[in-house]
Amino acid sequence: MPALFGARGYPPALEWIARRAEAFVIPLVALIVGMALFSLFILAVGKSPILLYETMWRGGFGSWFSVQNSLSRAAPLLLAALCVALPARLGLVVIGGEGAIVLGGVGAAAIGVALSGAPSFVVILAMGVAGMAAGGIWIGAVGALRHYRAVNETISSLLMAYIAIALMNQLVEGPLRDPASLNKPSTQPLADIYRIGNIPGMDVHWGLVVGVVACILSWVLIEKTRWGFAARIAGGNVRAAQVQGLAVGPLIVGFTALAGGFAGLAGMLEVAAVQGSANASLAAGYGYTGILVAFLARHNPLAIIPVAILLGGIDASGGLIQRRLDLPDATVLVLQGMIFIVILFSETFYGRFKAFNPDLWKRPDLARGAA
C-alpha cells in the first residue's frame, strides 16, 4: 500500500483541499473576469465602473437594510437554482424553472383560496404541497419526455416555461380571477393568517430558511444516499448506469420532479410571503437568474447558498444604480449575462491546472502517459 498512497509525500488534507479548490477558484476568477468585462461596458456608456461597483456594494450589502433586501431576493433564487442543479447532476440541462415557479404559485394560490377558513398551518402546508406538485409535474414531465421519448430537455423545459406562463395568464384572467383586481388581474388575495411572515428580528420572510434547508437536504441526497450515488453514476455515464442495472428512467423522472417541486415551492413562497396572490409578477425572472446561480455554484447545492445571496445582492442594487448613475435598472442583467458567458467559457479550464490535481504533483510515471 505505501507504494500507492501518500507516496507523494503531501499531507492528505492538502490533496483534499487541492482537488476541491478547482471548483471554487475557477468560478471565482470567472466572476472577476465577468465584472472586468462589464467595467468596459460601463466605460463605453461613459460612467465610472468604480462608482458603479461601489454603488452595487452599497445597494446589495452596504447596510442592514440592503442586506435584508438581498436576502429576500436570494430566497427564491435558492430554490430556482436547485431546479437547475439537481437535473444537472444527472447530466440534464433544464432551464425552464420559471415555468415551475409560475405554476407552483398559481397552484398554491388556488388551494389557499379554496381552503379558506381552515386552520392556517393546514392551509400553508397544503399550499406548499400544491406548489411542489404543480412544479414537480411540470419539470418531471420534461424528464420523462427526455428519457422515454428522447426529447431534448433544454428545449422542452424552455418551451414549457412559455406554456406555463400562458397557462397562468389564462387562469388569473379567467376562472381564478378576483373580480376586484382591475388593473392587474390576480387571484383572490390570501387572508393575512395564511400569509408567511418574517423571520423574527429581520425584514426577511421564512422562505430564506426554507431555501437554505432545501439546499442542505439536496446536498445530503446527492452526496450521502444511494439514490444520489446512482444519479451521479447516471449523470457521469448513462451507459455505465444501465450496465449496472440501475433504473435510469425513474431516477431521471424522480430527480427532475423534485427539482421542479423546489421551483414550485419558490412560486408558493412568492405568493404566500410576498405577493399575497398569484399574478403576472410571478414571472419575475427568478427562474432564469437561478440558472446562473446553479452554474456559478457548479451545481453543488451547498455552494448555491452563498452564490444565491451574491446574485440576490446584485439584483437588489439595480434600483440604486438607476438612481445614482442614471443607468437603466436592466444594467444588472447585462452584468449577469456577461458573467454567465464567462462562466460557460471557464468550463473549458477544468482539469487544465496542475495545482488542482495532486496526481500530477510527483511520480509522473504513475500519471497517464501521453502518446
Partner: protein, 507 residues
C-alpha cells in the same frame, strides 16, 4: 496526381517532450524508398507520437527528418503532403454518405468551386487504370465492405499524390482474408517501387508475412531494428516488452459437457442500430465452466446482442434465461443471479469518467451492506476500504483512490472494472473485446483473470473481434454475421480459414 516514385524517409534523433514526460527519446528510424517497414510497440510506446512528428501534427522537441536524403522541415500536415507523405488511420475517414468518386474529389487540397463531374469521372477512370486494384467508385461508401473501404483509403492517398504512406493498424477492422489481400496489394506496390510504407502494427504474423524491416519502440526509445527475416516472434516480443513478467494463463480445467446451462438465449429478435434490420439469435447456451466465444467483424450485430443482454436495448421477441429464470438485466436480477458484465471500451461504457477510482469500483456494491442487505445511506469509509482492497488485489496502478478514473491508463481502467465485476460470486460473465487497445502485460493478465473465472465455474460469453484471443480462450466458437450466429465449432476443430470465411459471409 502526378506520377511520383516512392520516397525514402528517415528520422534522426527524434525527441518529443510533453511537459516533463518524454514520449519519444532520440528515435532514429530509416525507411528506404520502396520498402515495407513495420513499427512495433505497445500502447504508449511512442509509435503514434513518432508518426505524428513525421506528419507535422506535432513539432518535435529536437531531431531531424530526411526525405530522400535531404533534410526537410515539416511544420504542418500540409508540408508533409507536399513532400508526398500521407497517413491512413486506423478508423475510416471517408464520408459514408458520399460515393467513392465524390470522396476522392473533395479530399483534394484545391477543389474548384463548381465541380465538373463529367471531367472528374473521366480523370478518375484514367487514374484507376493505373491502380493495382479495382473498386466501384460510384457506390456510396456506406455500402462498401470494410476491406473495400480500407482499399479506398489507400487509393485516396495515392490519388492525392502521396508515395510514402503510414498505415496505422490498417487491418484492425478487416477479416483475416481482407487483411491478407489489402496488405498483399500494398506489398506488391512497394516491390514495384511505387510506394514506401511504414506500418504500425500489433500483429507479429502480419509483420513477418509482409514487412522487409522492423523497428521496435518501448517507452519512447528505439529498442531494436532489423531485417524481419532475421527475427522471430520471440525476439520481437522481447524488444517490445523488455523483461517485465507476463501473467501465465491458468491451465484450462477439463470442460464438463453436462454442466448446468447458465445462459440460454432462445429465438431472440431485436432491432439493430439502424432500425432497418434486426439481430436474431436462434439458440445459444453457455454452460457453467466454459467460455463461448463469438467471432465476427465489428458491426454484424455483436454490439446489439450485448446491449440486449445488458438491458440497454429492447427486444422484439424471444427469451433470455439465466439459470432457468427470465432475465431482463435489472439490478436485482443481476445481483440475485450473479451476472457480471464487462463491455468493450470500459471507460466509455462501464465507468463514470469523472467519478473517483473508489466510487467506480463500488458501482456494484454501494447500495448494499456487508451482508448484501440494501442500505439507504452511502458510507464513504466503506467504499474506500472496499476499493482499497480491490485495487491492491487486482494491481490497479492509480495515484490515489480519489483520482478520477479517467486519469488512469487504459489497462488500469480495465483492471479496475475487472476488479469490480469479478469480485464476489460470478455465475455468468459477459465480456466484450476486453483487451482492445491494451498493452501486452495487461492483455495477458486480463485473459488470465477470465480463464480463472471460467475454471472457478462461471459461464463466460466472450465477444471479440480478435480471433487470436478467441482461439486462445474459448471452448466453443460461434461466428456472428449479419445479425445471426452462422457457424459453430468446438475449439479442437476450429480453423482460422473457415472461421474467416464465415465472418466474411461467404457461406
Amino acid at each position: 496526381m502526378s506520377e511520383r516514385k516512392a520516397v525514402g524517409v528517415e528520422t534522426i534523433g527524434m525527441t518529443m517532450r510533453f511537459g516533463g514526460f518524454t514520449a519519444l527519446d532520440a528515435v532514429s528510424v530509416k525507411v528506404p524508398a520502396g520498402s515495407f517497414h513495420a513499427l512495433l510497440g505497445e500502447n504508449g510506446a511512442g509509435k503514434s507520437t513518432l508518426v505524428k512528428c513525421m506528419m507535422g501534427f506535432y513539432h518535435p522537441t529536437s531531431g531531424d527528418m530526411l526525405v530522400d536524403g535531404r533534410e526537410v522541415k515539416i511544420a504542418s500536415p500540409k508540408d508533409a503532403s507536399a513532400l508526398g507523405l500521407g497517413m491512413v488511420y486506423q478508423h475510416f475517414t471517408l464520408v459514408p454518405s458520399l460515393t467513392g468518386a465524390e470522396n476522392l474529389v473533395i479530399s483534394r487540397e484545391k477543389v474548384p468551386g463548381i465541380i465538373d463531374w463529367r471531367k472528374e469521372r473521366g480523370d478518375l477512370g484514367v487514374f484507376m487504370e493505373r491502380m493495382p486494384f479495382k473498386l466501384p467508385l460510384d457506390v456510396k461508401v456506406a455500402e462498401l465492405a470494410a476491406g473495400e473501404k480500407q482499399k479506398l483509403e489507400i487509393i485516396k492517398q495515392l490519388y492525392l499524390g502521396r508515395s510514402f504512406l503510414v498505415l496505422d493498424e490498417p487491418t484492425s477492422v478487416l477479416t483475416p482474408g481482407e487483411a491478407q489481400e489489402v496488405l498483399g496489394l500494398v506489398r506488391d506496390m512497394t516491390k514495384a517501387g511505387d510506394l514506401t510504407v511504414l506500418m504500425i502494427s500489433h500483429k507479429f504474423h502480419e509483420v513477418t508475412a509482409f514487412a522487409d524491416d522492423v523497428s521496435v519502440l518501448r517507452k519512447g526509445k528505439l529498442t531494436g531494428t532489423g531485417r524481419v527475416a532475421d527475427l522471430d516472434h520471440k525476439a520481437m516480443a522481447a524488444m517490445m516488452i523488455g523483461d517485465q513478467p507476463i501473467a501465465a494463463l491458468d491451465s484450462r480445467a477439463a470442460p464438463k459437457p453436462d454442466a448446468e446451462i447458465v445462459l440460454k438465449v432462445k429465438s431472440l429478435k431485436a432491432p439493430d442500430r439502424t432500425g432497418l434490420k434486426s439481430i436474431r439469435i436462434e439458440d445459444l447456451g453457455v454452460r457453467s465452466g466454459e467460455i463461448v466465444g463469438i467471432a465476427g467483424i465489428s458491426g454484424n450485430g455483436q454490439k446489439e446482442f450485448l446491449e440486449v443482454l445488458a438491458g440497454q436495448r429492447p427486444r422484439d421477441a424471444g427469451e433470455v434465461l439465466v439459470r432457468g429464470s427470465a432475465y431482463a438485466a435489472t439490478r436485482a436480477e443481476a445481483r440475485a443471479l450473479h451476472v457480471r458484465l464487462i463491455p468493450e471500451e470500459p471507460l466509455k461504457n462501464a465507468c463514470a469518467p469523472k467519478m473517483t477510482v473508489a466510487e467506480n469500483i463500488s458501482f456494484r456494491t454501494f447500495d448494499i451492506d456487508g451482508n448484501g442487505r440494501p442500505i439507504s445511506w452511502i458510507s464513504a469509509g466503506a467504499i474506500r476500504a472496499f476499493s482499497a482492497r480491490l485495487v491492491e488485489q487486482f494491481k490497479v496502478k492509480t495515484a490515489s483512490l480519489s483520482s478520477p478514473i479517467a486519469s488512469l491508463s487504459g489497462g488500469n481502467v480495465q483492471r479496475a472494472v475487472l476488479a469490480r465485476e469479478l469480485t464476489g460470486e460470478v455465475d455468468l460473465l459477459i465480456v466484450s473485446n476486453p483487451c482492445f487497445g491494451l498493452d501486452f502485460s495487461a492483455v495477458a493478465e486480463i485473459r488470465a483473470r477470465i480463464m480463472k473465472a471460467r475454471n472457478a465455474g462461471a459461464a463466460v460469453l466472450l465477444m471479440s473481434e480478435d480471433l487470436d484471443e478467441l482461439l486462445e480462450l474459448s471452448d466453443r466458437i460461434f461466428v456472428m454475421s449479419d445479425g445471426a450466429l452462422v457457424y459453430e465449432t468446438p475449439i479442437a476443430q476450429a480453423s482460422v480459414q473457415t472461421i474467416g470465411e464465415h465472418m466474411a459471409g461467404h457461406h
